[in-house]
Symmetry: C2
Subunit: 157 residues, 2 copies
Amino acid sequence: MPSGECRGQGWWHGKFRGCGYRLTLGREAILDILSKAEGHLSAEDIYIKVHPKYPNIGLTTIYRTLDVLSNLGMVYKLDFGDGRARYELAEGPKGAHHHHHLVCTGCNRVVDYTDFIDEEVELLQQTEKGLGKKYNFKINNHVIQFYGLCDKCSGNK
Amino acid sequence: MPSGECRGQGWWHGKFRGCGYRLTLGREAILDILSKAEGHLSAEDIYIKVHPKYPNIGLTTIYRTLDVLSNLGMVYKLDFGDGRARYELAEGPKGAHHHHHLVCTGCNRVVDYTDFIDEEVELLQQTEKGLGKKYNFKINNHVIQFYGLCDKCSGNK
DNA sequence: CTCCTTAATGAAAATGGTTTCCATTATTAA
DNA sequence: TTAATAATGGAAACCATTTTCATTAAGGAG
């Protein structure tokens, strides 16, 4: 329970300080929410979850913090095609397992899957290396997502 | 050169009519632009290209048409993370080759690559089949993209 | 070819997620 | 404690996209 710890002792302490960022209550609160919730929170979702405990943290700060975290590589910014960005904590110290996303275009439900991940990751790494060399890119991220209709939504129509 | 043909004779004629859509000048113009341009046009890009020839086609129509085309599967709607959607013609009758995208997060340049596509496609199909069965999804689309810095942009910093 | 139904359209206004502005507050190094 | 400046909140701005609504035009029926 990171929020219960002494200020500045969280696992992200080092990362922040190392990059010249200040450690603030708002940032702690946001990281706390992200590490408790399981995946796919929008900025507003986070705002709503943070608000009861810290009513004076504004939506602007949420966006700014998520931007910082995203740049630090501590958070993934996801797009499921519904017009709002989602955020999930990148692997923390406990090493959340690598996964990709399966999105229902009917109800926007998102399934995290880990099946085939090993093969995927292997191919991705090869491709990344090959593309990087051929096109002179310094590749540092990728997206794989599948879109379809879940059983409910494909049944409904 | 589709636009030179008699109205209603384009290769998309059948698709439109079959789905109850009417064939209009605007739609023809937009498809024409898309088939001439090579990839990645935003709605505004298309608007600007269409405008000289058809000054009375509004941006709204562009959006509406792209939506129809996208639903028909004739156009892919792409997101490169810069806040505006891009569109490219799905494989036409001449069979544009399947490709994926490599995006520079520095200058937003996009490289279409076909390297490793065969392996990718094979893995994707397997994964698609496996996921579809396991999670009861009717998968009908996927996204693979790599993000990084091109040589210019990684050199600049 | 003409008429009629209704899909398609354009212009303007609305929408809504995200960003910017700016005066105020709070963190951190000295 | 103090000074320098990063971070903040609220309001306003932004801007791609969507909606509204009155008008136009595609295409089947006759």
